[in-house]
Symmetry: C5
Subunit: 354 residues, 5 copies
């Protein structure tokens, strides 16, 4: 989904609550389901085509099911039955218009957040909704289409490096959220560079398309803030809650992500103020140019009007104009004109209009 304001809820208006309708653009045709089962000394990776094939065999410490594609309602419903999820939760997964939040359903928790990545066209920021359902020893992740945002985490699981394989589902939850939040810094960096480029343009050659770009940036930042800021509460709750699945030692990691979110929020505010300033610079620059145009107009008018007036006096057809008869009349008038013109130029230099 590129950054447009779409409210597809209207498609749902009138249906009973809990009715599963995929709200959002269909992004991939197929649904991919990957299962990762791991514990202290074990690791297994499978790809299945239907939820039913996730045979609940073995006794892994953690089972992570990563689902790409949420438009097939029957798949969601299968998951709902298998993990006994609340109908409203399934509805939230299918509706990609959610704002980031954390819901506590007693025996499992639910986190929605937004994954951001740069689009194909320059300046585009694409957004994808990621839903995470986490419980005692399992974690379900739902992406709109199976992107590569979790590649790093999967790689670490395969290699068995770091803390990941030795820790529980709560640490996996942290690792996934951290990898999404780290992406935000990349997006902000890109935006910062575009803002600096635009600032130069504003001073050098402001035009209507500059204005359009400024407002585009403004809107993107507004959108970003909406996507990121609610995460603050989510991370704050995760780093403080005494839920049954969250171990004390993991909380310090959630607090670290919380700090990142605060930092991202600060940067977004700074960028927003920079964009507002840019608007001022733009308007001031346009107005400065108008001033320049006016000065040229004034100078031309001021220099040539008196000169033309002098010429028009001697263009009058009176019979008794003694100057016209004099042989020095013509050069004298030309001299007066030159003197007048030079005096005015000097005057403008004084006024700093040239």
């Amino acid at each position: 989904m590129t950054m447009k304001l779409k409210h597809k809820h209207s498609r749902k208006a009138g249906l009973p609550p809990g009715t599963l309708v995929h709200i959002g653009e269909k992004k991939s045709e197929t649904v991919t389901i990957s299962v990762y089962e791991y514990g202290e000394g074990q690791f297994q990776e499978r790809t299945v085509s239907k939820p039913d094939e996730i045979a609940m065999t073995g006794e892994p410490t953690v089972r992570w099911v990563d689902v790409g594609g949420i438009h097939k309602m029957e798949v969601l419903e299968s998951f709902g039955k298998m993990f006994s999820l609340h109908p409203l939760l399934l509805e939230d997964i299918a509706n990609t218009d959610q704002r980031p939040k954390l819901d506590d359903y007693g025996s499992y928790g639910y986190v929605v957040l937004k994954m951001l990545y740069e689009g194909d066209r320059e300046g585009d920021i694409n957004v994808e909704q990621v839903s995470l359902v986490f419980g005692e020893n399992f974690l379900l992740s739902f992406q709109e289409n199976g992107g590569d945002v979790f590649q790093g985490v999967k790689e670490r699981l395969r290699n068995g490096k770091g803390r990941l394989r030795h820790a529980g589902a709560d640490y996996l939850l942290y690792a996934l959220m951290d990898s999404i939040v780290d992406r935000y810094f990349v997006i902000l960096e890109t935006l910062g560079e575009r803002i600096e480029a635009l600032q130069d343009l504003c001073v050098r050659s402001p035009g209507p398309e500059t204005l359009r770009d400024i407002h585009g940036l403004k809107r993107q930042l507004l959108f970003l803030r909406r996507s990121v800021w609610p995460l603050r509460d989510v991370m704050n709750n995760l780093s403080r809650s005494d839920g049954q699945f969250l171990q004390g030692s993991t909380k310090v990691f959630f607090r670290d992500v919380y700090d990142h979110i605060i930092q991202i929020g600060d940067t977004i505010e700074t960028l927003r103020e920079m964009v507002s300033s840019m608007m001022e610079v733009y308007l001031s620059s346009v107005s400065y140019r108008l001033n320049g145009v006016m000065k040229v107009l004034t100078i031309i008018t001021t220099i040539f009007m008196p000169l033309s007036f002098i010429a028009s006096i001697y263009g009058m057809n009176f019979e008794h104009m003694p100057e016209l008869k004099s042989p020095w009349g013509y050069p004298a008038v030309l001299g007066v004109m030159a003197a007048t013109g030079l005096a005015m130029l000097y005057f403008f230099k004084q006024k700093k209009w040239l």
Copy 2:
């Protein structure tokens, strides 16, 4: 009521509190009263013409009385007696100028909220006040005129599909509020489309009526925020309260509506910022056009003033002007004029004024 600011309280100033005066425009002539009685295995639907005819017979799990038209004071007073409602509550039902709120009257609760739908003229948003009184096993709903906002809920009751018939009055309360809130998304979608259309207009051909439209939108969004935002507290209280009529399993549904309200509030803020930006674009667009006009003016003046001055020199009537006698004078002067004009055009190209 179309979106105007009307304060009809003045009609009441001076009367003792609790005096029933219908504040608001009378919308329908007749009062329609529909009664729905249902339980696990039963469902009955009746239409009565007077409150007295709601015979309190049978033992339904839930009794829902849907009233269309609140201008007949004697009808409201009959309800007041029958269900022993507080006089201030009746006054609130009759006054359609309420802001959304939840009042707890001990043995029953009272919710006011605003129903929004598009009006006949394009761009109009009509608003209607809906009052909901809910108790142990009954729910009274009062609409200004018996619209079709609750048709979906009634249909579900008749079909017996979904959870509705098996749940209590609190779930019915949720279903009714949810159907009203779902409408808000439709309204926001329409507004979003109008804003995008107006944004194009702002850049292409801004005029005074564009400005009027922008301010109309601004006002509508302001009005919307006032109608929607207080609902946040209402839903929050409903999803947290430990009232006697609200079952724990229903609270999660109210929380879902709460999330919707937050989302709607976010969207309204976004639209408001977009409208503010649009104002800036409008002003900047007007100013850019002024700039363009000024440039044309300057170019014309700058090109023709010196040329006219040259012509006026040779229009002087001095006797001793040797150039006038020369056969090459005329073409030479024309050549000088052409050269001057072309030099200026080149200068403007350089300055990017053309």
Copy 3:
């Protein structure tokens, strides 16, 4: 007091605290004191000329003393002695520059609020301070001059209709405050109408006096907000407090007034935003007119400058100008001029400048 910012505290600077100085404009010459004593089956109304004449005889359920005129310090001091009021409270009554507040003095409470009514000149809003001291079974009300704001309440007391005579001093407190708050709706309605009238004027014929009117409205709304908004806390405290004089059944009435205050505050904010928008419309309207003037200027200049230039060419006095000899020269030049002019008019039509 018409709406001016007057700080007459300076008259007091340096005096010991508790010194009674009437701060405010003297409004009426005489002080009127009306006493209303009533209970379940009784009602008595008297007018006395001195506080001492309020003989504390009989055993009424409630004794209400309504005082009009607060500029006679000896009268206030008599009341202070008779009801053993705190010196600071008397000082607050005499100082009409108070902001609305509720003070709890243990054995009695003190409420200050502002009564608003339209002045004689159109657009004027007058403000009068009302002080209410309420205890176990008495209520003292102090107005700046004995206006008719409490006429409705007095009438209801005389008629014995409604709940008033059967209830305690706390209900009387509610009735008085409610009658004052109801007036605010009337004021807001008037302001709303003036704003709509001014909005039309802004678009049709903006002038400097329009600007002055806008700023007048802005200031009045600012003043209104200051007068009304602190009442929110007052009503909130009254509807929640567990003071000894406030019965549980009266609290629901204070909550109703609280809702009204919130609604009034909302409306004031809406009106303020409308006035801000109006400022924008005004500026934009002025700027649009400037644009219109510029276009006319440009068109005239652009059409006549080239034409005059052509004419001035053939006004030159060169001896060898073959065109001048030709019999078709004159009509040909006129034709060229007409063609040039028409071409330009067509160009402007294209540019939508006409």
Copy 4:
């Protein structure tokens, strides 16, 4: 200190904390120390030249030491030893750049606040820091130079009128703070008058110095807010605290000063909004004048350009121009010119440009 932003902390950067350096302008050469000892039946007033001379003899109920001049570090250190004050407190007294605050040091309290008075030049507001240290039965007051702000309190002490001599050090604290806060009203009144005078000027004859005055006022109000607003918390804490030196009966007086601070804060906000409006009026007034100038320019151009064009046509030297031969040609052309000019004037009247 006149109202400039001075940060003299830099003089201290690098020194160990608690090093006494007088930060602020030296205002008086000498240090004056006045001692007031009083109780129920007694009052004694002395002036000493060194802190050591405050012999702790007798048993007064309250001992107040008023110190004028804080630049002599050895004097402050003597006080520090005599009353065993914390080094940081002495540092705060010597540093006149403090913001108002209340510090609780266990066996004594410390209040800093700002005394404001009008300066010699019109529009100047001078500020002086006042430090108050109060304990069981003593109060130390430190002013930058021994001004007359406490004259009223001293007079009341001498006369023995009012509550002052019968009450403790906490009431003296109240009396001193009240006399300082009362001065704020005088300053606000002056500012209000200057704002109204400037508003007139803005409409009548706006110039660059008007703008400078507006920004001067803006800055003064900003400064005032910073000086006054933190006092709110100070007074709030004093009126609520259960410190050992504050008696319950004095708290109601602190609450009264608290109300005054709130009122002053309200007025400052109102004045700030008025100054912001003034800025708008200024800009609009300048822009309105630009409009007026443009109209004159347009009218002159529009009237004379066509007339000059007509004249230039008949200034052409074609041989075959039949009009030139006609005896009625000249008056006819003059007539056409007059008609054209009048038609245009009529057109401008229609457009309301004249």
Copy 5:
């Protein structure tokens, strides 16, 4: 690091959390490690080249290790092992993009803050991150390069003056933070002077580079606020916490630094409002100049257009123009022109356009 917005997190995106990557510009080549061990009667100062050489011998009351240079990851890891620090803490030290914060890790605390100092070019403000880890009897300080900000503290330690050597690690923590915060006042003073210089420039000769400077200042103030404001919470927590390393007597010192932070925040807000006002002055000044230019244009046009028109009338070639024959025609016309010109000059004087 000069004041640019750099988000180097992207370098880290994808790596497992806790991976040490130095984020920030490398500032010094070598890492300097100084060890200070002191107690009541002892003081020892050493410089080591590797963390391992900090032999944990002797029993000093306090051991302070000051590290300059944080880009060598192996050094940080050595410290991590020696003092058993959490991996996330090491990551925070290495990442110089932190916002000020206080983290409690149980057996030790962690404070990050920003050191500010003026750069080489005028107007530059450099920022350096300082990390402080403090425990029972040790304190580790990490600077980006071993600057001289702590010279004053080190000198006091060597001299044994003041409280420093007799107090614990918590007082050392205070002393270091106080020396950093004192620097902020110097920076603010410099900024204040630059703002005042720019304000003059805005009125005297506003140009595009003035605008750039204003926005530069705006951004620096924004940056400063971000660097300073979060310290408020840090100091507030330190002055209130009941951690095991903080003694009650030290808290009053942290409260003093807290007051300084509040004061700095106030000053930043004041400077920000001054910069905003400056923007208004700039725009108004530019607009005022445009007005001046327009007036000159109008006056020239208004004076010479009618005069040229008169001249062009008598330049017409009609045969029957009696004025042309008259000997007084020429001087009469010149007289009329002079009279017209003077009348207009008088008119402009009236209108105050000259």
